[in-house]
């Protein structure tokens, strides 16, 4: 199979890669671009560990073909926060102990950012339903939801 040359933008940075047509965006990120912050939990869109944005819209990287990235703007966990300053969402996850094993955390941070961009003042129920596609087996979600709502309040206050 001939590899296809793709030009895309990842976290605002022009990026090129070669991929086979069957590879998913998740395969490309993790195996070809060594961006392993995006995790694989199921490969079928059921767990949300590979949550990314494509042209600003939240999706699972396992449900996108790598070739589809051409000309798109891809957002991953690596684009959130910087090495000296975490985003408010990331800070709140740490402050509220909203992670235990942490495998679902990158996906949840990406999803929470998408939620708060779309709805800066979600109710608890809205947050729970928006994030229902991000499975967490450790926390029982309590502290995650608290972190999300606190991050929302903080960001509204800061805005």
């Amino acid at each position: 199979m001939a590899k296809i040359h793709i030009s895309t933008s990842i976290n605002g940075e022009a990026t090129e890669f070669l991929c086979e047509p069957h590879e998913t965006l998740l395969d490309v990120l993790r195996n070809d671009l060594q961006m392993t912050g995006t995790k694989e939990g199921c490969g079928s869109g059921d767990c949300g560990a590979c949550s990314v944005t494509v042209d600003g819209r939240l999706t699972c990287a396992c449900l996108v073909l790598g070739v589809e990235a051409a000309g798109r703007e891809i957002g991953t966990i690596e684009g959130i926060g910087s090495s000296d300053k975490l985003s408010v969402i990331q800070e709140k996850f740490l402050e509220h102990a909203a992670l235990q094993c942490g495998i679902c955390t990158p996906g949840l941070v990406v999803s929470t950012q998408a939620l708060l961009e779309q709805n800066p003042n979600p109710t608890e129920a809205e947050a729970r339903y928006f994030l229902a596609g991000n499975l967490c087996r450790c926390t029982g979600y309590d502290k995650i939801i608290r972190a999300v709502l606190d991050a929302a309040a903080t960001m509204r206050g800061a805005a």
Binding site: E20, H22, R30, N31, Q34, M35, T36, G37, T38, K39, E40, G41, C42, G43, S44, D46, C47, A49, T76, I77, E78, I80, G81, L86, Q90, F93, L94, E95, H96, A97, L99, Q100, C101, G102, I103, C104, T105, P106, V109, E124, A125, A127, R128, Y129, L131, A132, G133, N134, L135, C136, R137, C138, T139, G140, Y141, D142, K143, I144, I145, R146
Partner: protein, 750 residues
């Protein structure tokens, strides 16, 4: 520990030291390591639940372009039958080898048979389709009743029931029969004025960690071989893999990656020995990652169980007798946690007469693995359901009845020792006094109360603390951090040394740079590894005092250590830890503390949960509307992560109670091997989970710690189960309480 100790750092909720890496995606998990020249391994799995392998020919697959190695059971050096320590206690080496790659016979849908390593995962998968294999399909045995019935198909013709008074002469699917007794059970029931009894069923349920099993390995013929993997115990991975491949421990380095959940399911090996064989044969590093359906089909799960329990009490509420019979599925190979089920079932109660027998039964399902308080949730579900029924029959408040019969200091347990100080009474009182318990129920709602007991374990932990010349240090421990334990290690060391937690960096050493440490399981890490950390920290402090003494030319006894500073009691001198570290080169070399221990004195943690549900009587759908988890932490080192353990355990148990179950076809094939139809709770299914931390210190731990990881999954099965029973007014016996089952109960078709 002293009762009224004041702590400087313990009990604060600090930011975990590994937190930054985890919220930014930088933390590296099992699937995140790639090596130069690395190839990919994939596994051919059985499409049948029970079959003899009549013919196996891998030659076409081996010839497929891009394939670099093929592994089968015959690649294991001759394996002898010996016990291997894993999460469940013992799995023989022979069984482990047969589970990792089947020999002659497949025993469950998804049983591994052949592994192939190829340049890409896609090529390996294509090559799997070229393996020629012929099966003689056998009738599967999918339930303990079938398995124990006369004339049942036998999984292992060489397995004879152990624990019988007379040695059996015919093979059986019952691996072991065991019993525990105390007092006179018949007399206990004679004394009883009210008796309740019921049969119960709990389904096969999976740990459901989000990270699939994964490893990257490199076999080096002359030097060190390396395994990078996601595991709860890398020393156990080393032991199992080295034994399976007849290697010296010293030739195998195992590095524990960050671990994306385990709950007991990552206490044994599946991929690691296979990958190492593939690496040995190909001469290349090999990476293997399970697909999600492989995780469900071939790893975990927890035992499905059938139980019968009978409880007798006097009218004044005194429980006089508790009797039970538990049959646990072990999966394809012997070794269910039925013994732990028998030991925990009645243990929250101080009752004079108890008798329980257990059966460890093989069936054509994946070999069970440890699952959070292995064996306890299923057994205590049955007992707690009946204690609630007993309360109704006696006209008593269910918490009040439990308080009357609660195990406490001095209570004789069925498994032997008498309890030291335990906190069940305090947990029951906290539950009784909670706002939740005072709140009235609305229409169509029901409430359940349940208690849970888990032993907690100690065992071996090794730690060293290496101090740097600037007064910072590294805590090297050997217990994989599955839920934030590095934060508590950092805090305990900081407390013992009197310095800011942030000065100390905790890391998980690999099998070469820290001495043997038992895995993270049994709620042991914060307790046992914590003790080792404290011992290492105290060792550092002792050396600090010695160094200060030598600089001041006094004896170490004349030096006091206060808040990280050495004080000369014979003068005005003071030296901070950082100053002592800075001059260590002149006082005898760098400072390193050591704590290699075999921890004893683990204190049990009791839990009491309250659950309110609302039931949609037209559809049978159950909605958890309020939930409170109370548990004894001894001393909560990091309260938020302690709460997190309670909340996570509660929700895992809620899932088990409501919707989680393995669903098999008539042929024994697993039909829901994915998160779509293996229905773990999602965020929108739940309310906030109120966590109440009770602290009854464990006097065997310097800071009073009791392990908290496991007890929290025990009460939810009955708390939810009885809440549903209370809401619909119909006895509940079987889990999960999925809508069709609840609807049938309401319709009287249960």
């Amino acid at each position: 520990m002293s009762e009224a100790r004041e702590f400087k750092y313990i009990g604060q909720s600090t930011i975990r030291p590994d937190g930054f890496d985890k919220v930014t995606g930088r933390a590296n998990y099992g699937a995140d390591l790639n090596l130069p020249g690395m190839i990919w391994g994939k596994i051919l799995r059985s499409p049948h639940a029970h079959a003899n392998i009549k013919r196996l020919d891998t030659s076409r697959a081996e010839a497929f372009p891009g394939v670099l190695a093929v592994a089968t059971h015959s690649d294991f050096p001759s394996v002898t039958d010996q016990a291997i320590e894993s999460g469940e206690g013992s799995l023989t080496l022979l069984d482990l080898a047969r589970n990792v790659l089947a020999k002659d016979k497949v025993l469950y849908h998804g049983h591994a048979i052949v592994a192939i390593a190829a340049k890409t995962a896609a090529i390996a998968e294509q090559a799997l389709a070229l393996i020629d294999i012929e099966y003689e399909v056998l009738k599967p045995v999918m339930d303990v009743r079938e398995a124990m019935a006369a004339g049942a198909p036998i999984l292992h013709p060489d397995m004879f029931t152990q624990g019988l008074a007379e040695k059996p002469t015919t093979a059986s699917n019952v691996a072991t029969r065991l019993e525990y007794k105390m007092g006179d059970i018949d007399a206990g029931f004679k004394e009883a004025e009210v008796v309740v009894e019921r049969e119960f069923y709990t389904p096969t349920a999976h740990q459901g960690y989000i990270e699939p099993h994964a490893c990257t390995v490199r076999f080096e013929k002359d030097g060190q071989s390396m395994i990078w993997c996601s595991t709860q115990g890398h020393f156990d991975v080393r032991a199992s893999t080295a034994k399976l491949l007849a290697m010296d421990l010293g030739k195998l380095k195992v590095i524990a990656s960050e671990i994306g959940g385990g709950f007991g399911g990552k206490t044994t090996v599946y991929l690691e020995p296979v990958a190492l064989i593939l690496s040995r044969k190909s001469g290349r590093p090999v990476k293997m990652i399970m697909d999600r359906d492989e995780v469900f089909k071939a790893t975990g799960p927890g035992s499905a169980t059938r139980s019968w329990v009978k409880i007798g009490a006097r009218k004044d509420g005194t429980i006089t007798a508790m009797q039970g019979r538990l049959a646990y599925e072990a999966g394809a190979f012997k070794g269910s946690p039925v013994m732990m089920g028998c030991m925990t079932a009645f243990t929250p109660y101080a009752v004079a007469n108890m008798y329980i027998e257990g059966f460890d039964v093989v069936v054509n399902k994946a070999k069970v693995a440890a699952y959070r308080a292995p064996g306890a949730p299923q057994a205590e579900f049955a007992v707690e359901m009946l204690v609630n029924e007993l309360a109704v029959k006696l006209g008593r408040d269910p918490i009040d009845l439990r308080l009357q019969n609660a195990a406490k200091e001095g209570t004789q347990t069925i498994y032997g020792p008498k309890f030291k100080r335990v906190g069940l009474v305090e947990c029951l009182e906290a539950a009784r006094d909670s706002k939740h318990y005072q709140q009235a129920l609305a229409k169509n709602q029901g409430r359940g109360v349940a208690a849970g007991f888990w032993f907690n374990v100690g065992g071996q932990s090794s730690v060293h603390i290496n101090m740097n010349p600037d007064g910072t240090g590294t805590i090297v421990e050997g217990s994989p951090d599955i839920g934030g334990s590095r934060a508590s290690m950092q805090m305990m060391a900081a407390e013992a040394m009197g310095i800011e937690p942030g000065r100390l960096k905790p890391i998980i050493g690999d099998t070469e740079n820290v001495a043997f440490s038992a895995g993270t399981g049994g709620s042991r890490t914060t307790f046992a590894t914590g003790m080792a950390v404290i011992e290492a920290a105290e060792d550092v402090v002792a050396q600090m005092k010695q160094r200060a003494a030598s600089m001041w030319n006094v004896t170490a006894e004349q030096v006091e250590w206060v808040d990280g500073v050495a004080l000369n009691t014979a003068g005005e001198d003071r030296l901070s830890l950082a100053e002592i570290c800075a001059s260590a080169d002149r006082t005898g070399g760098q400072i390193s503390g050591r704590g290699n221990i075999n921890a004893r004195g683990a204190g049990p943690s009791f839990a009491v949960h309250l659950c309110d549900v609302a039931v949609d009587k037209e559809t049978g759908k159950v909605d958890v509307v309020r939930y409170t988890a109370v548990q004894d932490a001894g001393k909560a080192i990091h309260p938020k992560y302690v709460e997190g353990q309670y909340q996570g355990g509660a929700v895992q148990g809620i899932g088990w109670a409501l919707n989680e179950e393995y669903i098999y076809s008539a042929d024994g094939l697993l039909e829901n091997a994915g998160f779509l139809d293996y229905r773990i709770p999602v965020a929108s299914d739940l309310p906030m989970i109120d966590a109440i931390i009770v602290e009854v210190p464990n006097k065997f731990h310097p800071y009073g710690v009791r392990g908290v990881g496991e007890s929290g999954i025990i009460p939810p099965l009955a708390a939810v189960g009885y809440a549903v029973e209370n809401a619909i007014g119909v006895p509940v016996t079987d889990l999960p309480l999925s809508p069709p089952r609840v609807f049938n109960l309401i319709q009287g078709k249960g």
